[in-house]
Amino acid sequence: MVFNSDVFLFAFLPVVFALFWAARTKLQRYVVLTVSGYVFYGYWDWRFCFLLLFSTIVSFSAGLRISRSARPSRRRAWMVGAISVDLFLLGLFKYYNFFADTARHLTGTTALPVLHVVLPIGISFYTFHTISYVIDVWDRRVKATSNPLEYLTYVSLFSQLVAGPIVRFRQIENDLEQIDRSPSEENIARGIGFFLVGLLKKVVIADGIARHLDVALLSPNAFSTIDAWVAAFGYTFQLYFDFSGYSDMAIGLGLLFGIHIPQNFNAPYRADGIADFWRRWHISLSSWLRDYLYIRLGGNRKGTIRTYVNLMVTMLLGGLWHGANWTFVVWGAYHGGLLAAGRALSPGGRLPVLIRRGGTFLLAVVGWVFFRSTDLHMAGQWLARMFVWRGGTETSITLIARVLVAAAYAWLIPETWDMWFGLRLRWAPVYAAAGLAIYLVLNGRESVFLYYQF
């Protein structure tokens, strides 16, 4: 089920919303959110609900064991054990075939058989949710909850279950503890506002670009240089508006249920350096990688060379997190290299901010070519067309116009978190008119969010 589908908008959401606010006690509301999360998840494939439940039970039990154990070695063993189980499941479903296939290509051996498994949707996200919980409990940053329903609610919260943001338990712990409070008019109004802005980003901007771009990207070898750059810019904005739109909708949905999901994007294409870009793009993932991987590896505390190695390892794994494909590995290495270079050389420190922003944006655009390509061959063809001149163009004016509109939005309009939302009653009809207008574009064109594949 996706947020922009009829079944979600006209059946799932109204029913869950009504049941949630009709329920009065914490217990009832936990049950409503948990059951709704499993229905939401199971709508795609009910069998993987058991995987989600298993992962939840393992991390919940480990959290309790860690918090109740005084011996550091035992606490550590529980932490490592729970994370190993999570990573094993992630590895099995997401990466096993990738490594088996790579081993087969490199060595010619078929010792590792290819498994016919389907990637459970959202597994990368909920695995990171549960790992962050276990580490935070082990680190004593958060007190393990003894309420299994509260924890089930946290992991299965439908607004963030399938494609993030990667919310840590401690970030919404207070909201979960006070789940039985009355609805806030402000939360409802802001929630509707966020949801509509997200829907607009996804349905009007991202999908509008995708309709033209997907066809063009069938044959990147036929690109002229102009076509290749327009396609790269197009995908740059499609991805941003698709994922930030999804994140806005998730945040809006959270607010409708009194849960404050943290910011996931902060105008990333206005970043003035690659490090700044990563403080603004998919913030919940980049901060997760920073806190649970980069810093754990030693961060910048173990000398210059080790800092670069840590950056590279973090970004390589961050790339691989997105998918079992060499294109993501190269994309991660590319960004790791840029971060290391940025740290070593501090390029552009004295350049005007517009040039720094422009340069950062173009570097990000080149990176997205790897991210979008189905394999390295396609990426190579696409990049060759971008950087080796070839005249002519087949690009439609419509695609160029849509890319320009998206660029204007990304650079000139405030990020959703910085937008002013009318919270008074008189704004309700305006929101309704906006909702109807967006639905006219959406109707009959349901599409899956790009980050569902990760």
């Binding site: 606010w21 609805p183 008019e185 409802i188 109004a189 509707i192 066809v215 063009a216 069938l218 044959s219 087949e394 439609s396 919270l423 009653l425 309700a428 009809p429 929101y431 309704a432 008119a433 909702g435 109807l436 639905y439 006219l440 574009v441 109707n443 009959g444």
Partner: protein
């Protein structure tokens, strides 16, 4: 919750106001009001409306097919056969559409004496999922499932779909064009389609461009080729249900003592050159030809293989897959002037 209540109330009120407005404009001619002339996208509804008055004066010939045939002029077939043809080819036509249309036509009067059926990989394909244009047309989907159980639930579902489709930018766009055409009759050329009383469909804008010499077929081909790559990339085999629908249709027409002509519809040679090597088109076209041969082995039908578009004028096309009325008239002449068809008893004297 005051904000939410007012939001929902406003949403319902605005939605109703919008729905009543576009319903009254009725741009696709599928509802009762006819305050302004309809602008057609899915011509099923309009042809369903046009057929009964046409049939009252006698309809003895029927053209079935997809959008590739909508410009086959009934007048040319009338001249060739002495019958009175109605062009019931529909956009995105599949063989189940043809069957549904024929069954519905049979409920409106005597059986036609000659049915001309155009088939191609698209109309028989297994790659495009549900036939939403047929599904959302309660009359035709009802005709197709005339004996099936649960009809009232399906009718409710179909009606719901019909109203839901009003909430789309395409529908709103059609409504605006309809109003524009009503307010400024000279703007009729802005309309994409106009359906004549005999079901013949005209493209006023394209025809106007052609007569002024500004129509650019090369540009059109370049623009549609990527779409056809995707389209035929997704067609790997024929649908068993659609093959069955074709055979059922032919058997029902033959049972009505009518004659059947089946022809394989082509793509533009440039299209074939482009998709031939990169998609399963050639293989699937061959399967269509095999199926047509198979039908002709079981039923007394005349068949014509025009799957090779290079046999016709390369400039008389609108785009990658759509011949214009000149080429389609030529198709009609070659088929109905053929000994295969003429050899049988004279038309109208069965």
């Amino acid at each position: 919750m005051k904000f939410l209540r007012l939001f929902l109330l406003s949403l319902v009120a605005l939605s109703m106001a919008y729905a009543v407005s576009v319903w009254a404009v009725n741009p696709r001619g599928e509802f009762a009001p006819h305050l302004v002339p309809p602008i057609v996208r899915d011509n099923r509804a309009v042809k369903l409306r046009l057929y009964p008055p046409f049939a009252r004066a006698g309809a003895t010939g029927l053209i079935l097919g997809s959008s590739r045939v909508v410009q086959m002029p009934p007048s040319v077939l009338d001249e060739l056969t002495g019958l009175r043809f109605f062009n019931f080819a529909v956009e995105r036509g599949r063989t189940e559409d043809y069957l549904a249309i024929y069954r519905w036509v049979r409920t409106r009067g005597p059986a036609p004496r000659l049915v001309v059926i155009g088939v191609d990989p698209e109309s028989l394909q297994d790659g495009d999922g549900a036939n939403f244009m047929l599904d959302r047309n309660p009359i035709l989907s009802g005709a197709l499932r005339r004996t099936a159980a649960g009809a009232s639930i399906r009718r409710l579902r179909d009606t719901t779909k019909q109203y839901k489709q009003m909430f789309s930018t395409e529908y709103l766009h059609d409504a605006i064009l309809s109003i524009e055409a009503a307010v400024h009759p000279s703007a009729r050329t802005a309309r994409e389609y106009v359906v004549e009383a005999d079901g013949y469909l005209r493209y006023p804008r394209l025809e106007s461009e052609r007569s002024s010499g500004t129509f650019d077929l090369v540009r059109e081909l370049r623009s549609c080729l990527p779409r056809y790559q995707v389209l035929y990339g997704g067609i790997s085999r024929l649908s068993a249900e659609r093959v069955l629908a074709l055979r059922t249709l032919v058997s029902e027409v033959v049972a009505d003592n009518a004659r059947v002509v089946i022809w394989v519809m082509p793509n533009h040679p440039e299209t074939v050159a482009s998709i031939g090597g990169t998609t399963p088109y050639v293989r699937v076209l061959s399967a269509v030809r095999d199926e047509v041969r198979e039908v002709s082995r079981h039923f007394p039908v005349a068949t014509f293989d025009y799957g090779d578009g290079s046999a016709f004028d390369r400039s008389d096309w609108w785009d990658c897959g759509h011949m214009n009325e000149r080429n389609l008239s030529e198709v009609a002449r070659r088929m109905l002037g053929s000994p295969q068809v003429v050899r049988t008893a004279p038309f109208g004297s069965d």
